[in-house]
C-alpha cells in the first residue's frame, strides 16, 4: 500500500482554480453567487488553518481541562448555529438553550461513552481522539436538531388553527401536538437516515476516504466509519428527540394551550 502523500500549498492554490471558474461563470451570467462563494471559500481556508494551529497546540499541551474547554466552545458555537438556522424560534433564553443544551448533552454523552468503551485511547480524553470524534458527532447532531426545531416551530406556527381545533375537541397538549411532533422528528432524523442508506453505494464518507488516502487499510477505515455512523445516529436521535419534546413542552402549557406567544416575533 502507498504511503501518505503530503500536499504542498501550491496543490491547494491549484485546486482553488475550480472555485474561481465557478465565480467567473456566476459573473458572466449575473447569478450573484461570486461574492458569496469567494467569501465562504476564504472563510473555510482561514477557519481550517486556525484549526490546524489550534489542534497542534492542544495536542502538544494535552490537558484534560483544555480539551473539555475546547469541546465546550465547539458546543456553544454549534448551539448558536442551531439558533440561527431556525426561521421561527423560541424567545429569549429558551431559544438558544433547548437546542444547544440537548445537542451538547447528547454529543458529550455519546462521545464519552465511546471513548471509554470502544476506542479507549490512553488517557481516555486524549484530545487527538476526543476532539475529532466529538466534532463529527456534534456536527451531525447540530444538523438534526436544527432541522427538527425549524420544522417544529414553523409547523406549529402554520398549523395553529388545526392544533387549536384539536385542543377544542378535548385533546390534551401532547395528543394535540403529536402529529406535528412526529413531523419534526422525521425532519431531524432525515439526514442521518439518508446518509446511512446511501453509505458506500452513493457516497464514500469523508472520514473513511481521508483515512484511506492517508494509507490506512480500507477494512480498518470502514470499521471506524461504521462506529462513527452508529455513534452519530445515536447522538442525533437523542438530541433530536430531546430538543423536539422540550420545545413542544415550552410551546404549550399546563392548561393545554398552544403558546405561540413564546416564539420570538419576526419582522
Amino acid at each position: 500500500m502507498a504511503d501518505y502523500i503530503s500536499l504542498s500549498y501550491w496543490d491547494l492554490a491549484f485546486a482553488a482554480i475550480f472555485i474561481l471558474l465557478n465565480g467567473a461563470i456566476s459573473i458572466a451570467f449575473k447569478l450573484g453567487l461570486a461574492k458569496k462563494l469567494f467569501i465562504v471559500a476564504t472563510r473555510m481556508v482561514v477557519q481550517l488553518s486556525i484549526v490546524a494551529l489550534l489542534l497542534k497546540a492542544i495536542f502538544s499541551i494535552s490537558s484534560p481541562w483544555l480539551t473539555a474547554l475546547v469541546a465546550l466552545a465547539m458546543g456553544l458555537f454549534a448551539g448558536r448555529e442551531i439558533w440561527a438556522r431556525q426561521e421561527k424560534k423560541l424567545a429569549g433564553f429558551w431559544g438558544y438553550s433547548i437546542g444547544a443544551g440537548t445537542m451538547m448533552f447528547a454529543g458529550f454523552f455519546v462521545t464519552i461513552v465511546a471513548l471509554n468503551t470502544q476506542i479507549q485511547p490512553d488517557p481516555w480524553w486524549n484530545p487527538q481522539f476526543a476532539l475529532p470524534l466529538f466534532g463529527m458527532i456534534l456536527g451531525n447532531t447540530m444538523t438534526g436538531v436544527s432541522l427538527a426545531l425549524d420544522s417544529l416551530t414553523s409547523t406549529l406556527n402554520r398549523e395553529r388553527i388545526a392544533i387549536e381545533a384539536r385542543l377544542l375537541l378535548g385533546f390534551n397538549r401532547w395528543q394535540a401536538l403529536l402529529p406535528f411532533i412526529r413531523q419534526a422528528l422525521r425532519a431531524g432524523f432525515m439526514p442521518i437516515i439518508n446518509a446511512m442508506a446511501a453509505m458506500g453505494i452513493v457516497s464514500l464518507p469523508g472520514m473513511m476516504t481521508g483515512q484511506i488516502l492517508s494509507g490506512v487499510d480500507p477494512a480498518e477505515a470502514v470499521k471506524y466509519q461504521i462506529l462513527i455512523l452508529l455513534l452519530i445516529g445515536g447522538a442525533t436521535g437523542l438530541g433530536v428527540i430531546g430538543a423536539t419534546l422540550l420545545s413542544a413542552y415550552r410551546l404549550s402549557d399546563e392548561r393545554d394551550r398552544l403558546r405561540l406567544d413564546r416564539l420570538k416575533a419576526t419582522k
Partner: protein
C-alpha cells in the same frame, strides 16, 4: 349553569356573565371589541385571569382538556389536520342525525377535506363539536360563512341544543339572528357588556 366571574386578559377588562342551561345569550360588538377573545378565554385557550364555573365547579379543578369537552367552543375558522373528513370525527350514534340536520351528504365522512367547500367545512365544524355532547356551546359567528338555507338549519340545531339543556353563548354580528335566537343579548363595547335585550345580567 355557566358562571363567568371577572374574566379578563390583555385585551378585555374583567367581564362577568351567567348563562343558564337551555339559555341562549348573544354577544354583539364591533370587530376587535374582544368577542372572540372572550370566548377563547372561557375555554382557557389563551392565558387569562378570573374564574369560570360549570354547575358550581371551577375549571381549574379539572384538566383543561376535560373542561373543553364540557364547555365547547366552535371557532369562526374550522381546523383540519388529516386528509379524510372521517379522521376528524368520533364515531357516535347521533353523528348521522347531526349531519342530516345540517343537510350534509351521508357519505361526506369518506370525502377528502380538500374537496370541501367553505360552507361544508363550517357545518362539519359545528357537527364535530356538538357530536361530543358538550354542556355549554360557545359559537363564534356560526353562520357568517353560510347561505340562507344553511343558516336556518344551524339556527334550528342551536335551538334544539338549547331545548336539550345546553347553555349557549352566541357571538354574532347579525342582529336579526340574535333577535331570533337569543333570550338575552349584549353589546360588548369598550370592554364592557351593555344590555340590549332581556335585562341586565346579574353575574
Amino acid at each position: 349553569m355557566l358562571e363567568i366571574k371577572s374574566l379578563s386578559n390583555e385585551i378585555f377588562a374583567p367581564l362577568s356573565l351567567r348563562v343558564k342551561r337551555g339559555e341562549i345569550v348573544a354577544i354583539h360588538g364591533a370587530s376587535g371589541s374582544g368577542k372572540s377573545v372572550f370566548l377563547r378565554a372561557i375555554v382557557d385557550l389563551d392565558p387569562n385571569e378570573g374564574e369560570v364555573f360549570l354547575d358550581g365547579v371551577e375549571r381549574s379543578n379539572m384538566p383543561a382538556n376535560i373542561w373543553r369537552s364540557k364547555v365547547a367552543m366552535i371557532p369562526a375558522q374550522t381546523g383540519w389536520w388529516a386528509d379524510e373528513v372521517a379522521e376528524h370525527f368520533e364515531k357516535t350514534n347521533q353523528l348521522d342525525e347531526l349531519l342530516k340536520a345540517l343537510d350534509l351528504p351521508s357519505n361526506i365522512l369518506t370525502w377528502l377535506v380538500s374537496r370541501l367547500s367553505t360552507g361544508e367545512r363550517h357545518r362539519l365544524g359545528i357537527a364535530r363539536a356538538i357530536n361530543l355532547k358538550p354542556q355549554v356551546l360557545l359559537l363564534d359567528e356560526p353562520t357568517a360563512a353560510l347561505d340562507k338555507k344553511a343558516t336556518i338549519l344551524v339556527e334550528d340545531l342551536v335551538n334544539m341544543q338549547a331545548k336539550n339543556g345546553v347553555a349557549i353563548v352566541l357571538v354574532t354580528h347579525d342582529e336579526d339572528q340574535a333577535k331570533r335566537l337569543a333570550n338575552r343579548s349584549f353589546l360588548l363595547k369598550n370592554g364592557e357588556f351593555h344590555s340590549l335585550k332581556g335585562g341586565v345580567d346579574n353575574g
